[in-house]
Each structure stands twice: as structure tokens, then as C-alpha cells.
Amino acid sequence: MTTPLIDVQNLNKWFGQQHVLRDIHLKINAGQKVVICGPSGSGKSTLIRCLNQLEHHQEGLIYFDGRLVDKNQPYLQEIRRDMGMVFQQFNLFGHMTVLQNCVLPQMRVLGLSEKLARERAMQLLERVRIPEQANKYPAQLSGGQQQRVAIARSLCMQPKVMLFDEPTSALDPEMIKEVLDVMTELAQSGMTMLCVTHEMAFARRIAATMVSMDQGCLVEQANPEDFFERPQSSRTQTFLAQIL
């Protein structure tokens, strides 16, 4: 059996006295698509933010690509580079154009020349279908367009896994589809993906594994068919009943 790309062992995290992640175990293989769902406040976002150490955990081990992920590791920046992340609020750099947003990290982190960085940025902007917006500023774009730029910007770093933290939750309903379409294509291209989302139809379409969380615990992990048709945990059943 191959070693998993991401291996989370016995992860525990507290915010002050609040125990927000409790004994999380999770393995993700290269190419696998995992969707995490659960009620708000259940620790989904915190979990994926621990993977690239935007949040620091107190106990447990996280391995990525065979390397230990820890806030004190000198190679933490390489790990973050190899884990693309897409945020609920897009977080495009407001003072730069779409193109500059995609070019800057390539130049500063990958050390590419500006010419090469521009070429690759344009390729990816075409892939997310907004090359014509390249010279606009984020505030001039719709939420859906911004989120697609954010995906392109992450892909510019040639990540080994993409983490999505509720990428469609801040979008107007008519823009959700364009973002999900891009994500579906990304899934089909073989990218390893870990998504926190409430889009259950999308989850069912792309996920190899469904994970549900509640109160910091990972309560169920199953393939989509079993997860949606025969959920074992009562918490998963309650959650699904509420949102489906």
C-alpha cells in the first residue's frame, strides 16, 4: 500500500479552553477527493487550516508528502506552497490586478521570471475562463469571478493538493455554478482535493470520500453512496436531514 499524501494522526486543537478538534484521524491519497461537511462550528475549517498551519495544533501529527507538518519546520513555506488553498472570502490582493495576483507569488516563491510567470498565469486564467479580466482589479469583478481567479492563483504554484474552505458560501446563488464547474474540471484532471462545502450535489458528483464532522469530532467517513443513502452516525443523519 502506498503512503498517503496527507496523513493526520490523533490531531487535537484548542482555542483557549475550547476543544475544537478532537482526536482527528484522516488519510488522503494522491488523487483522492475528500469532501468534509458538518454543521457550522464543527471544526471543518479549522481542520484544513491546520493542514497548512494557518492554525497551529497542540497535539497530534500531520504528515504531508512524507514530511512532518509543524509550525517550527524550516520547510513550512515549501509545504504551504505545495498545498493550494481557496478561501471563502477569496482573499485576492486588492491592490493588484488579477494578473499581478497570479504573477507575484510565482516570482517571489517559485523564483520564476516575470515573462514565464505571466505566460503560466494566462494559461491558468484561461483554464478558469476569465483571461479577458486579467488587467482588472479584484473589486471590479463579481464574487464568482474573484473566486475563479483565487483558484487560478493557487494553481499557479503547482500544488500537490488543493484545499477548499467553503469556496461558494460567500457567493450569490447564480455564481455558485461557475465556481463549482471549475472545481469539477479540476477534480477530473486528477488533482487531489479536500473540500469543505455545503454543496451536497457537487460533493456527490466528485467525492471519493465523504467525511462528516460534529463538535470537533470526525463522526463518519464513507464513500458518497453509503454516506448519503445509509449514513451510520445519527449526527450525520441529522445534518443531512437538515440540509438536503
Binding site: N52, L54, Q77, E78, R80, R81, D82, M83, G84, M85, F87, Q89, N91, L92, F93, G94, H95, L104, P105, R108, V109, Y137, P138, A139, Q140, A150, R153, S154, M157
Partner: protein, 314 residues
Amino acid sequence: MYIEGRRVGVENALIPARAAPPPASRLAWNRLDLLWVVVGVALLGAGMLKSQGAFSYRWDWSSVWPYFVKTDSLTGQWAPNLLLQGLMTTLRLALWGMLMATLVGLIMGWMRNHARLLFRMVASGYVMTVRNIPPVVFVFIFVYFISNQFMPLLALDQRVNALPVEVQSFLSVLFGPMELINNFFLGLVCLSVFSGAYVTEIVRAGLNSVPRGQAEAARSLGMTNLDIMIRVVWPQALRNVLPSLTGQFIQLIKDSSLVSLVSIQELSFMAQDVQVSTQRVFEVFVLTAVIYFFICFSLSQVFAHLERRHGREH
């Protein structure tokens, strides 16, 4: 479908677009404004008529002009006199003061947001101290402390004297006459430390105005902390605080007159000098005020231009 009791459907024709009504003008004068002006002028005129005799000042500008430019009695050449020398010192104080206050503000502002408690305490102690002491008191304490304790250690004038003549003349373009370098340096440090505290607060506000997500996104892309600061956070912070920074820089130029209290020979100090020797209080200080106004006004125009270019239109 019904909206407000009216049936709206595909068969209804669209209401054609109409031109907007003309905007209500707030810039034009109206009769009421004219009335106010007339009343104001009438009152002023009446007051002046009444006080005739009491208010009779003979303006004499001619005795002030020579203090700008004098003719050297030996060579017959033109040379800057006290007021122009003072103006140059004020400009140098303003320029270097802005740079140094910004430097102090950047470092201290960064420290005020730092995770390390010691840094936060040092920076907030600095800001609290400066903010809660009257400027005049601050200037006296600071300058006499520095000039007695610190300047002898630095021995700036002796070091400058040891330099080649070309270097000295270059330095005098930047910092003014070399024989007054101790004096100038004293005023500059005082002004920078004083204004730096206010810039610190502006920097802190600027850093806090940039959403956390910006730095998080940069971090998730693998950028270094330094890159995140320089490329992502600071440019946006600067854009947000440019108006307050303009105000603070103008304040700094005006505050530079405070160091005249401790014999730094800038414009206000020279003006007092000239006032004493000419006895023309109004002429000298009206002129001084006009000069300050133009320096500050030009600076605010420069910043207004910068704001338009890098402002929040995006």
C-alpha cells in the same frame, strides 16, 4: 406576478428609460449667500469706521526684505540672509523629519502589533509618553537630555570636521551649514521622535485596516513573512492611511517651529530674531505665516495627487 397591486408580465411593455432630473446644485451662489456677504462686509466696515484712530498701523515691508537676501559688503554678491537661511533649515528639518518619523513609525507601528509582549510594551510606552506630554515640555526635556548626555558621546561636529572638504560641502547641501550640524541634528531627532509617535499610531491603524485574509492568502501561497509585509500588507495599509499621513506630515512641518524654543535656527527662530532687530512684528510674522502656508499647502497638493493616483478607486 403582482408587484404593488400592478400586474407585471411579459406582455407589458417595458417602461422606457428617461433622462435623470438635473442634480440639485450646492455649489452655486444663491440670494441668501449674497445677503450674508453684504451683512458681513457692512459690519466689518462699521467696525473699522468706529475704531479709526485706535487701529492705525503703518505697514513697512521694506525693512523686512533685506533679511531674505543681503548684498555682501565685501564682494558685492547676493547671499541668503537670516530668513532664507531659516527657511532652508525648516525645509531640511521637514524633509529629513518626515523620513525619520516614518522610519520610527514603521518600526514602532510594527512592534505595536507584534506577538511579543515586550515589543508591544516598548512601543505603546513610547506612544503613551509622547502623546500625554505637552510638546513644549517634551522638547525641553528631550533636547536638554540629548544635548547634555548624548551629543558629546556622538561628537558629530568633530567627525564631520575630519571629513574631506568635498564631502563636507555635499553634506551641507543635505543638512545645512556644517558648523551648525550638532544644532540641526538635535532639532531633527527631537522632531522625529515627537512626530514618530503619531506616525506609529497611523501605521498601526493602517496595518489593522488590512483584512487578515490578505496575509493568510499570501502565507498559504508560501510567501515569506517579509514578502507578505512588503508586497501585500504595507501597500494596502499605506493606501488606507494616506490621508491621515498627509495630515501628520503637515503637522510635522508646523511642529518644526517648536524646536526654535531650544535655539534651532529654523524659520520661526530667525523670524523672532528679525522681529527683534526690525521691530516689525506683523510684517515679519505675516510673511513667516505665508511661507509656512505655502510649504504645507504644496505638500498637501502633492499628497492629494498621490491619493488620486493610488487611491481607493480600485
